[in-house]
Amino acid sequence: MHTKTITQLSAALRSGEVSSVELTSLFLDRIKRHNPALNCFITVTEAEALKAAAAADRRLKAGDVAPLTGVPIAHKDIFCTQGVKTTCASKMLDNFIAPYESTCTAKFAEAGAVMLGKTNMDEFAMGSSNETSYYGAVKNPWDLARVPGGSSGGSVSAVAARLAPAATGTDTGGSIRQPAALCGLTGLKPTYGRVSRFGMIAFASSLDQAGPITYSAEDAALLMNVMAGFDEHDSTSVEREVPDYTAGLDNGIEGLRIGLPKEYFDEGLDDSVARVIDAAVKQYEALGAVVREISLPNTGLAVPTYYVVAPAECSSNLSRFDGVRFGYRCDDPQDLFDLYTRSRGEGFGAEVKRRIMIGAYVLSAGYYDAYYLQAQKIRRLISDDFRAAFESVDVIMGPTSPSTAFRLGEKSDDPVTMYLSDIYTIAVNMAGLPAASIPAGFVDGLPVGLQLIGNYFEESHLLNVAHKYQQATDWHLQMPKEF
């Protein structure tokens, strides 16, 4: 039962083949057994989960069901969950019980989904390997010596090891897609503004976007049906009709115009990963798609630009963690300055501090024009690249990550090398476009992700294109052996 997709579990719950309490208990047991090795959960909400499952069973009996009613799910510990510890994987929030619920998790609860717990992540979502968590690194179920990717590392590790059938993640520069690729899962970052950010602890407000992490595109569509939509509490969420994301999954893709950006296949890309991507593209051609090379000339500027914009926003967003009203406070502060400096100095980890300092620097008087303003201009150029590309293609494809999962500790002393592992995903956030990563094969037993980038609000189309591939292949159904 633990290997089934959400689509299958939903059917099993409705037919009475299994109850939500049984299903929830099954996953809670698996978490107990495997979490010590994987470290993918920060908090497991066993009692609340069983209560929610019992309520879901009543709903199922009464026939008051939505597709996710009774389905267990894990939430990244970046979403505020009322009455439940919400840490963002930081010492700063180790004692923080959220007094309110995020819109995203509230929607899942309303749909009857059962929260199993809160997943580990890079501290404040800053990282690409899940090694910056205050609660320790998360392991990749395909190879426990390797990273799961980040920042949604706990979510992907949990789903890949079948400790949860699906999870939420957030993606600021690749934090859903890159770990999904490294753990062999389907991950979707929706268009900026498609999913409410209310109650999602902000890293970089203009880039952050929540999305689903699942086995299949079909499952992702089911989660999107719950998550997507305008929220009056989020001014940047878009007031636009939400389609049924499952409706067009089976549409034919004959004649689909696929663009391969030549900049995504240059010397930075691992050869073996390139071969997997080539094979996936060939599969699409076999399904009737037409492939052509395109150019996104400003690709090389995406990473440096991102590391101006994202730290700038985070330096301001994280100012509220000051030891005054909630969160970590240093012992015995001598005065206000001491309270601030020690609470923040002791409460934040090294990577978070590095980004706050970069951000404060690029926003400071005399540097603002040269860095922040300049970065905003480049951001427009990056968006323009995509706009031009979508005039001649329907979907852009390429690798999600330049390599497969790297070893724990391999890049943790070298921030720049680490930052470059997001080279193919970051531009998408800069432009606010939707993009998915789907399993496309293996190199030496480690999963490789194919990235699909769509035009604004074309999540349905992306999921359709992904689904057709998954109908023709079974990479997305492969499982790590030990779990």
Partner: protein
């Protein structure tokens, strides 16, 4: 050396919305600490601001009232600094692109010609909470009820040349925002606050001198005194061979002096940048026109009308339009009174304002309503009472003894206009005062007043004075 004083004001008006600028929490004043601060106001992790449309409408209204440009596109920015009463570690304000740009206001100092003062900009922002340093035995309490209260910061050009002009400008803005119903103007509760930028330069010099920014000017009197003190201080510094340094100074009203708070070197780098949580504020032509239609008659327009249509003098019209409540009071009273605006003006400015001042009451707290005063004036117009008796009636109304008609009835103050009755009284008085009568008839004209007085006394002032005069003239001849 003759010095020219240069003053610019930054006025913070608290907008009279029901809820905060970026959250649904109430803005009512005086609640128990931290009971009107929701998750957004507390700056909890994950919360987001949503702009209050009413605050935008009020800002646009102000812009239109001062002939400014209401920007089709303005941007909210974050002003970053750490302080315990600033929950997010930044204040959401407007920086490069404010909602209102350019405008002007005419001010007048008594005895001087009217002058136009430029308004540089007005921008929307959120207020911070309050740090409470007393009552906490060495610690500081923080009350976040005020955090997120909408403010419109109105920045003038450095165009005022005396403390008196600064006060006149501040009073004009104070009156205007109340006319527009966008601010309650309550200075005690901090709804209307002012900072002043003050510098001096040799008369005739173009370049501005180094300025200091004066904070904590929360009354008209303090503004005048703080500026005067600061100007003297700067003159002393320069004439003593020193240099004025750019700094922020706090006005201490107890000592009536300003003292340094922080210098330019200590000034914060606020690291302003556009707030990514809020979209740019876009206002189209149709919106701006719709707001324009809601503008009330403004003080200057009202004043002009009082002069041209009601025949008031410039001074009277100025006093009566100083606040919207007073102007409304006057207009209602004049309408009820009938035709005589001039008499109404005299009564409002004389007896009514006098009585209010004496008891320290606002016009809105007057025990004599505009309707009551108008009805009393009507009784003067229709000769039911004399102007002199009316003072007695007014006092009775002030003391809560009912409206004019009730007082007149109760106290029997109705004017005697029956000439037969008056003649009878005159006859009696003539009979009782033969000596005076003889002297009068012998040419001592001054005694006429004596007879008037006697008649009025005999009628307890109720006889119609004009009638008494006419009849006496006849009889005494």
């Amino acid at each position: 050396m003759e010095w020219e004083i240069v003053i610019g004001l930054e006025i913070h008006t608290q907008l009279a919305t029901n809820s905060k600028i970026f959250s649904g929490a109430s803005t009512a004043y005086g609640a128990a600490p931290n009971t009107q601060a929701c998750a957004v106001d507390l700056g909890l992790p994950g919360v987001l601001p949503v702009l209050n449309r009413e605050a935008v409408r009020m800002a646009a209204k102000f812009g239109l009232a001062v002939g400014a440009r209401v920007s089709p596109r303005s941007v909210f920015a974050r002003k970053n600094y750490f302080y315990p009463d600033l929950p997010k570690g930044y204040q959401i304000s407007q920086f490069e692109l404010p909602v209102v740009e350019g405008g002007q206001l005419e001010i007048q100092v008594e005895g001087e010609a009217a002058r136009m003062i430029g308004i540089t900009r007005a921008h929307l922002e959120e207020d911070a909470g309050k740090s409470l340093h007393e009552d906490f035995h060495g610690s500081t309490g923080v009350d976040l009820n005020r955090a997120g209260t909408p403010l419109l910061e109105i920045v003038s050009e450095p165009e005022m040349r005396s403390a008196k002009e600064a006060v006149a400008y501040m009073k004009k803005i104070h009156s205007l925002v109340q006319y527009l119903e966008i601010c309650d103007g309550n200075m005690q509760e901090g709804s209307f606050r002012c900072d002043a930028n003050v510098s001096i330069r040799p008369k005739g010099q173009e370049a501005l001198g180094t300025r200091s920014e004066l904070k904590n000017l929360n009354s008209f009197r303090f503004v005048e005194r703080a500026i005067n003190f600061e100007v003297e201080r700067q003159i002393d510094v320069i004439e003593g061979g020193g240099e004025v340094v750019q700094e922020t100074r706090l006005y201490d009203s107890d000592k009536d002096e300003t003292r340094s708070m922080r210098s330019k070197e200590e000034a914060f780098d606020y690291r302003y940048f556009p707030d990514p949580d809020l979209l740019p504020l876009e206002l189209d032509e149709a919106y701006i026109e719709a707001v324009r239609k809601t503008l009330p008659e403004l003080p200057d327009e009202k004043k002009a009308r009082f002069i041209s249509e009601l025949g008031l003098a410039e001074y009277e019209a100025g006093v009566l339009t100083a606040s919207r409540e007073l102007a409304d009071y006057f207009e209602v009273a004049a309408r009820v009174a009938g035709d005589d605006a001039k008499r109404t003006a005299n009564w409002v400015m004389g007896d009514l304002l006098g009585a209010l001042n004496k008891e320290g009451k606002e016009i809105t707290e007057s025990p004599v309503t505009a309707e009551m005063l108008g009805a009393m004036l009507q009784r003067i117009n229709d000769n039911t009472i004399s102007g002199k008796i009316a003072k007695q009636v007014f006092d009775c109304m002030w003391n809560g003894e009912g409206d004019a008609d009730a007082v007149i009835e109760q106290k029997g103050l109705k004017q005697v206009t029956d000439s037969g009755a008056i003649e009878k009284i005159i006859d009696e008085i003539m009979a009782n005062n033969p000596q005076q009568l003889e002297q009068y008839r012998a040419g001592k004209d001054k005694l006429f007043g004596f007879f008037v007085g006697q008649v009025m006394q005999a009628t307890q002032g109720k006889a119609n004075p004009a009638q008494v005069n006419a009849l006496l003239k006849q009889k005494l001849a």
